[in-house]
């Protein structure tokens, strides 16, 4: 399958998963928000976050087994840790990530989310430009 087609199909499935969560539970599928609140909120009304995350982790392993990705050269652990710290910090301070502001926020036609998406795309482009240089 051409990678553009696989990307578009994958995107449609991500959209459908978000729709399922919206129609079934009335919730927005923002991964950073779900992960953050799963650790904070307790009680039966909060358990759905854990089963969603379980599905995400289990599904990732299951489907990557069927659709294997090329191996990556190892990268410095410190770089990965710093990136994780920035992603976690930024997603909570900015109230969302690629799914919450991107997939759902744009779908809700929220101007706030559009501004967030344009901002993180810009700094991500800039970061890749500065860290890899023109290859």
């Amino acid at each position: 399958m051409h990678s553009y087609l696989a990307a578009a199909l994958g995107g449609i499935l991500i959209g459908l998963a978000s729709w399922l969560l919206l129609a079934g539970l009335g919730r927005v599928a923002g991964i950073s928000g779900i992960a953050c609140a799963a650790l904070r909120e307790h009680g039966g009304h909060a358990w759905w976050r854990w089963t969603f995350l379980l599905g995400l982790v289990a599904g990732g392993a299951l489907f990557a087994h069927w659709l294997p990705a090329p191996e990556l050269p190892a990268r410095p652990p410190l770089l990965i840790a710093a990136a994780g710290l920035l992603v976690g910090f930024g997603s909570v301070r900015g109230s969302g990530c690629t799914s919450g502001h991107g997939v759902c926020g744009l779908g809700r036609r929220s101007l706030r989310s559009l501004v967030a998406v344009l901002t993180f795309m810009a700094t991500a482009f800039l970061t890749v430009f500065l860290s890899t240089g023109p290859r």
Binding site: G10, S18, L25, I31, G55, A81, C97
Partner: protein, 169 residues
């Protein structure tokens, strides 16, 4: 006295064990489907994400050069569906009393201000995303793939979330 049936929809919907269990199963299935989308689209491959973020690669060779535009199709496909979803599913002026199948009510973000934390947070998020090529969903979906990277990234991400919450107070 029984409540007037006309107002029935305004009462909070009681949480029955069946509805709670149904909600947990539905959320699990949504997580599975989300993961399938991430894996199929290439979002769980950091090299592909960085290839998309490498705009300068466009200048190398014939268009699109070394730039990999495929991830734009992921966002395009996903947003196409959520535009429909958010138009058709939540309550609106004509149907103000809609409720989700298994939840008690729709809980959508109410905040619409474009403020400093939003811009700072998004800017910082983008730097982290560009550095490693992982955002939260793909990082979590990669936990059981045998690569140590997700096991470094995810705890660091949770620490970053914790830090941001504590600075807000």
């Amino acid at each position: 006295m029984k409540p007037d049936s006309y107002y029935q929809h305004l009462l909070p919907r009681p949480t029955t064990p069946a509805r709670l269990l149904g909600g947990l199963v539905l959320a699990f299935l949504a997580g599975l489907l989300f993961a399938l989308g991430l894996v199929l689209s290439g979002m769980t491959q950091p090299a592909k994400v960085i290839g998309f973020l490498n705009l300068a690669g466009m200048l190398q060779g014939e268009f699109p050069g070394r730039w990999d535009p495929s991830l734009a199709f992921v966002m395009g496909g996903a947003v196409l569906v959520t535009l429909l979803a958010f138009r058709l599913t939540p309550p609106n002026a004509r149907h103000p009393h809609r409720r989700p199948w298994l939840g008690s009510h729709f809980e959508l973000p109410a905040q619409d201000r474009i403020d400093a934390p939003l811009l700072q947070g998004a800017a910082i998020f983008g730097v982290g995303w560009g550095l490693a090529g992982y955002c939260p969903g793909p990082a979590l979906a990669s936990l059981l793939l045998g690569s140590p990277e997700a096991w470094i990234f995810v705890p660091a991400m949770l620490a970053g979330m914790w830090l941001a919450r504590h600075l807000q107070r």
